[in-house]
């Protein structure tokens, strides 16, 4: 039961899934941090990325890498569309208008996928899935290693983008003080579009790398949005760093509770951790103090 190898294996699995959770949650927290808008279509965007990957692999017969390269620009376009239809028009309106608009987008995306791909779960096969190698008794699966590498690279690349690019600088400025940014001539709409597109692409990267691990179904977004919200709330809304830390934390918690208990326990535990964090630190572990 408390075999060190088993524990190390669980830890590794948790890190992998946690990195992907963190990556997906950055997509959500970025939009909140910069624009203070909650994107309820988040889970469906993740689902859309996974299904687009499935379509590219199964129907177009593309190899996994090519399929990913095809899906990500599509996600960028979808992000732009989301920004135009549901986020930009509602920036000056009460927050619940954006919540309802993005919920509407979620309903549209989910029913489109249901109408085109059907409701039966599907599966994406990649070459990495069957690839396994063993180091010191711990099993490494190709796809999981890929997830870890891609997630870490994306997070680092995004951090560099935020830190050093002009757009990244402007995003951080808008997050700090929107009014002051408008006064010094930062184009708020442009930054809003960039933030939403970046957020959706990051969500998409998480979606396409995680897709081969689990069965896909049109309602998978509900579980994703639940986990991403938990990650974002625990990490502190608007904090990218918090999202990564909380994502990994929850990934590891999930791996251990599923390893020693059941999936139900881990889902319940997510929620309980979320409520506890909210009660003790209403702004999350890294809210307010560390912003994007």
């Amino acid at each position: 039961m408390f075999d060190p190898l088993f524990i190390a294996q669980l830890l590794l699995n948790g890190l992998v899934v946690g990195a992907a959770y963190g990556l997906a949650a950055i997509g959500l927290t970025l939009i909140f941090g910069v624009l203070e808008e909650v994107n309820f279509a988040h889970g469906e965007l993740y689902m859309l990325a996974s299904y687009s990957l499935f379509a590219a692999v199964s129907f177009l017969g593309l190899p996994y890498g090519m399929a990913v390269l095809l899906v990500l620009p599509i996600m960028a376009l979808v992000g732009f569309g989301l920004s135009q239809a549901a986020i930009l028009p509602n920036m000056e309106r009460p927050f619940e208008v954006t919540v309802l608009s993005t919920l509407a987008v979620a309903m549209i995306l989910q029913s489109i996928v249901r109408l085109t791909a059907g409701s039966t779960p599907v599966n994406v096969d990649t070459v990495f899935e069957t690839m396994t190698f063993e180091i010191a008794g711990i099993l490494f699966f190709g796809q999981r290693v890929l997830i870890l590498i891609v997630a870490l690279l994306s997070i680092i690349a995004f951090a560099v983008f935020l830190r050093y690019s002009r757009i990244g600088l402007e995003m951080r400025a808008v997050a700090q003080n929107r009014l002051a940014c408008q006064m010094v001539g930062i184009d708020l709409k442009r930054i809003a579009n960039w933030s939403v597109v970046c957020g959706v692409v990051l969500t998409g990267i998480a979606g396409v790398t995680m897709a081969p691990l689990f069965d896909l179904s049109p309602d998978m977004g509900v579980a994703i949005v639940f986990k991403s919200f938990a990650v974002v709330i625990i990490g502190g809304m608007g904090s990218a760093f918090g999202a990564v830390v909380a994502g990994i934390l929850l990934g590891v918690v999930e791996a251990f509770t599923t390893g020693y208990g059941s999936v139900a326990v881990s889902e319940g535990l997510f929620f309980i951790i979320m409520i506890l964090v909210l009660l003790i630190r209403p702004h999350g572990l890294f809210g307010r103090t560390v912003r994007i």
Partner: protein
Amino acid sequence: MIPRSPYLIMLWWPILALAIASTGPSQYVLHILIIAGIYVILAQSLHLVLGQLGLLSLGIPAFFGIGAYAETLLSVHFGLDSLLSLVLVAGITFVSGLVIGVPSLRLSSHSFVIVTLSFAMLLQVIAFHWVDVTRGALGFPDIPAPSVLGFSWTDKTSWLIAILILDVVTFAAFIRIKTSRFGRALAATKGNEDLARAVGFSTFRVKLLAFAISGTLAGIAGTAYAHYITFIDPNVFGFSVTENLLIMVVLGGSGTVFGPMIGAVVFTVLPELLRFSPEFRSLLYGVLLLMAMLRFPLGLGELTSRFRRKK
């Protein structure tokens, strides 16, 4: 804002429903009317928090599900009189509303939306996995017919009458709340929370009480649903109820008195008339909701801000 005799105007729905029922329609038409009647109660539940307080609660299915499961367990295990168990369930959902409300209402309005949604999802997870009590994914088939003071019914006409009575009672309660001192406290809290607090309202208590009453209404709808459909499973906690309710309340007009009631009836009947598949209905609802938000986010955005400017 409130018509002179809202108690009379609200009777349009029971009168309309009974008029249709009196023409001897098919069982299917009666079924649609009954479902519309259940949605009228649920719409009132969301309307109380969203329309009166501007709180977007996505946790209505939590209370709907608690109500359905509590009623089922009470009638299967104890065989209580339905009126008695209805009162018990109302109490249970009211207390659940307090329990869920205390942590959720302390949060920012963004987090409130997320946490109320999470509560519904957590309860669904519990319903799936606490097999000893809830029978898990199998659900409860053959829930016994309700019996009130020894009188029991299963036919759809009696059901329609029973649901219409519940509709009238809950809507009357809603108007009573809206026109009471508590209703003015709600309006004050929605209009300007700091000001309301400054003039002596405990806005947290006001919100908590409204949230718990909203939960009670959803719980009552849940009991009716469980007895009428005679089968429940963890999907009663599902998101599709919220989806329908948002369309009904928001498109019906959450800033108005009768809007959500009209929305509940229209958006139950319309998809049936047009014979949409659930997928297509969801697509259409999504497009309608998005367009409504873009063109006239009335009741939510525009109406509240107009209301604020007047103050």
